[in-house]
């Protein structure tokens, strides 16, 4: 495994190459509180391109910032910085990484050639609308994951219509018939709404990758 450092504003992001290959990269996005794997997952065995994995801000070997301030949109920008490095990629996201993968597929429909959404930590996120809230100050930790990442990204709002907006953006501009594949068994409200959208398929990770492998740029 080799690791490259990418700068996202004041954060150094760790982008790991788990296996070199030729052709489009497979970009793995981990779940909340996790870090990138050190080996390619077994379902990626047939992927011809490089298999790479990003540590989100506050996770793995990426910077832990002071004072929190995490949002799904900032993690989307983390993933977009990795995408800028790769040029184009197919995405596989776990949990929180699945939500970010969906957002990136909608935000960069021409560079993302399919996004596979899998179960994992942080899949559900927070409520779908305003709730009673508590605000607490957490002690900083020198070791990942950042406690603020765990706290803030376990309660970020995920209205279903916000999630489906990204599906529609992907469908509108990706040129793929089904740019989103849902492999997750658990379907929180945002993901249940995603599954109901046109252009979304449900299947295993391996089956989705077999299709996305053929997708043209």
């Amino acid at each position: 495994m080799t690791t490259k450092s990418l700068r996202h504003n004041k954060i150094d992001l760790a982008l790991h190459t788990l296996r070199q290959g030729s052709g489009r990269a497979l970009l793995l996005l981990h779940g909340l509180g996790e870090a990138s794997p050190t080996e390619p997952p077994t379902w990626a065995a047939n992927w011809p391109g490089s298999v790479v994995a990003l540590d989100f801000t506050g996770h793995g070997r990426s910077t832990i910032p002071p004072g929190g301030g995490y949002t799904a949109e900032i993690l989307l920008a983390d993933a977009d910085v990795a995408l800028a490095q790769l040029g184009a990629a197919t995405l596989v996201g776990r949990g929180l990484g699945a939500y970010v993968a969906l957002m990136l597929a909608g935000a960069r429909p021409q560079q993302v050639r399919g996004a596979v959404l899998c179960d994992g930590p942080g899949l559900a996120g927070g409520a779908i609308g305003p709730t009673s809230q508590s605000f607490v100050t957490l002690a900083p930790s020198p070791h990942p994951p950042d406690p603020y990442a765990l706290f803030e990204m376990s309660r970020d709002l995920r209205p279903p219509d916000y999630a489906t907006l990204f599906v529609r953006m992907a469908v509108e501009s990706s040129g793929l018939d089904e740019p989103i594949a849902v492999a997750a068994v658990v379907r929180p409200p945002w993901l249940a709404a995603v599954v109901d959208e046109l252009g979304v398929t449900t299947c295993s990770v391996a089956d989705a990758l077999a299709v996305y492998m053929q997708a043209t740029a």
Binding site: N9, G67, T71, E73, G106, P130, L165, S173
Partner: protein
């Protein structure tokens, strides 16, 4: 709800040095506190032994925009405490910015100043932030004043759904492009007048003299000229799951005395919220004032009027 009459605009008279502004008083005390590793700058006017009153600025603003308004409250006996939100004014530039983080920073400031309930006055985004904190931690608030910071449903042109999707897509990809470039970004340098003119695009109703004054307290002078202090990675606008109109759903439940002040003149930085948007959301006993002919920066356009409204609302110290 009462509507205030249209008032004459303030005039600036006489020749002044660049940045000088009549009635502007620099804070008597300025210091930083450490909030989880970030320096947050506090600015105070008035007697240190006075009862604290908090002023909360809006997005892309900073505490010293209160340099005319705050002294009027301090003159009535209040210890007026304002702070620069992370990335703004003299506070540290943070790696991350977020609504919850701003609220936690506010809690840290309040904890340093007092353990007792205090009046809080928030403008624009600062007003919205304080509604959320007042809902979550009402024990911190004796009174809540909101200066044109009551968001209503975002004004979106009446377009077809697929067009709307494209508009949002453009907004998001533009923001991501900015994030890709954000490492090492700095604000453009210029003269005091050039920065004032730039700011004037966001604050078209404020006088050029005032904007020049803002440059001298909200920007730093270096070898290449003046640069705004605000973090260049921050960008006006943005997107996310929060719907602006959700903020006012927290209003009806507030238990502390509430005064809302709305501006009738629509501006880019304002919400354009009118009293009819808030009819059913005012808390019991809450008051709403509409300032006719006044823009989003009500306390800058009409400092005397707004200060007197606030002091009247708070009663004597």
């Amino acid at each position: 709800m009462r509507v205030r009459p249209r008032l004459p605009r303030r005039r600036t008279l006489g020749a002044m040095l660049p940045g000088e502004y009549p009635g502007a008083v620099a804070p008597l005390r300025q210091y930083q506190i450490d909030v989880g590793g970030l320096g947050i700058a506090l600015h105070e006017w008035g007697d240190e032994a006075g009862q604290p009153l908090f002023l909360v600025h809006g997005g892309f603003d900073f505490s010293r925009t209160y340099e005319v308004f705050a002294p009027k409250l301090a003159a009535a006996g209040w210890r007026v405490v304002a702070w620069d939100q992370r990335g703004h004014g003299d506070s540290d530039h943070a790696p991350l910015y977020g609504w919850d983080a701003d609220i936690r920073d506010a809690m840290a400031v309040m904890d340093v100043v007092t353990q007792r309930p205090a009046p809080v006055i928030g403008h624009s985004k600062g007003g919205s932030l304080m509604i959320q904190l007042a809902d979550a931690q009402p024990y911190r608030f004796s009174h809540l004043v909101n200066l044109d910071g009551l968001p209503s449903k975002r004004r979106v042109p009446d377009v077809a759904e697929h067009e709307r999707t494209r508009m949002v897509a453009g907004e998001i990809s533009g923001w991501l492009d900015h994030r890709r470039r954000s490492a090492g970004l700095t604000r453009y340098p210029g003269t005091i007048e050039e920065l004032a003119r730039r700011r004037g695009r966001m604050n078209p109703r404020l006088s050029f003299e005032w904007l020049c004054h803002l440059v001298t307290v909200g920007a730093r002078e270096g070898p290449e000229g003046w640069r705004w202090k605000i973090d260049a990675s921050m960008r006006f606008g943005g997107f996310g799951p929060w719907r602006p109109e959700w903020t006012v759903t927290r209003l009806p439940g507030l238990g502390m005395p509430f005064l809302g002040v709305l501006a009738s003149e629509l501006e880019e930085m304002g919400w354009g919220t009118l009293p009819q948007h808030l009819d059913s959301f005012l808390p019991e006993g809450g008051r709403l004032e509409l300032l006719d002919g006044v823009g989003h920066f009500v306390h800058i356009e009409q400092p005397d009027l707004v200060a007197s409204m606030v002091l009247d609302f708070l009663g004597s110290v």
